[in-house]
Symmetry: C2
Subunit: 146 residues, 2 copies
């Protein structure tokens, strides 16, 4: 009920995300792979050869967002774009050897981040947090729905 605390929630979410991004960027500085790029590596690690649009959906990115990410990662030789044989509009994404190596590194880095994220909180509390974060996706939908 306290408006001060509620105001803080918006702010805390913003800062928390930025702090995490900044920290990951500092950790991986020089590895040539950013946090956002790791996301796509993880997607391809599970579903290599996915459509660009599907990868974007998996990362909750719009067409423009995923397109740029793919561009930069293809330029960095982490992934490769290949035309879909059955659909002239579509392109599928494949990990390069360098991408596979970067994914392995990213997985290791994730372990450290995971440990910190849950440190000091019980499993029940982490469940509450995860449920709250997930609830924002329906509370603040992409489409219209005001």
């Amino acid at each position: 009920m306290n408006p001060r605390r509620e105001h803080r929630l918006v702010f805390l979410l913003n800062v928390a995300q930025r702090r995490l991004q900044r920290w990951i960027a500092a950790q991986t500085h020089g590895s040539g792979v950013t946090a956002a790029q790791s996301g796509l590596l993880f997607v391809l690690g599970q579903r290599d050869g996915v459509l660009i649009g599907e990868a974007g959906a998996a990362l909750d990115l719009g067409p423009a967002g995923i397109s740029g990410l793919v561009d930069r990662m293809a330029a960095a030789n982490l992934i490769r774009r290949r035309a879909d044989p059955d659909d002239g509009r579509a392109w599928r994404l494949w990990l390069t050897p360098a991408g596979r190596a970067a994914l392995a590194q990213a997985k290791a880095g994730l372990a450290e981040v995971n440990a910190r994220l849950t440190d000091g909180f019980t499993e029940v509390e982490i469940d509450v947090v995860a449920r709250w974060l997930a609830s924002l996706q329906s509370k603040f939908p992409k489409g219209e729905d005001e």
Copy 2:
């Protein structure tokens, strides 16, 4: 302990923040004030005439980040930069009448966001969430500290 769930935590945080930003951007589309800019408006609403660096600290932004934000908002006539009379290096920020009006609107918008953010969760659960979000600031510090 489930690595799948922990992996989701990083992802959920990222997506949640982006969803919220995107939703606010859509809501305020045309108002000329973005979410980040609202943040600075709130700071000035409480401490008009603050130093640029102090405002940046309040928003957890580095020098470059706050400088750009100030630039855009000054160009949009929401705030005004005035030299500090006692320190030739420093500049203080002041709300313009337009900025004050935008702040009032932002406050109203915040009420809607607050309602959604806490909807479906008990006060105890929201406290857990707030504590978790705040904990990231010490877990992922700005400075060095590995």
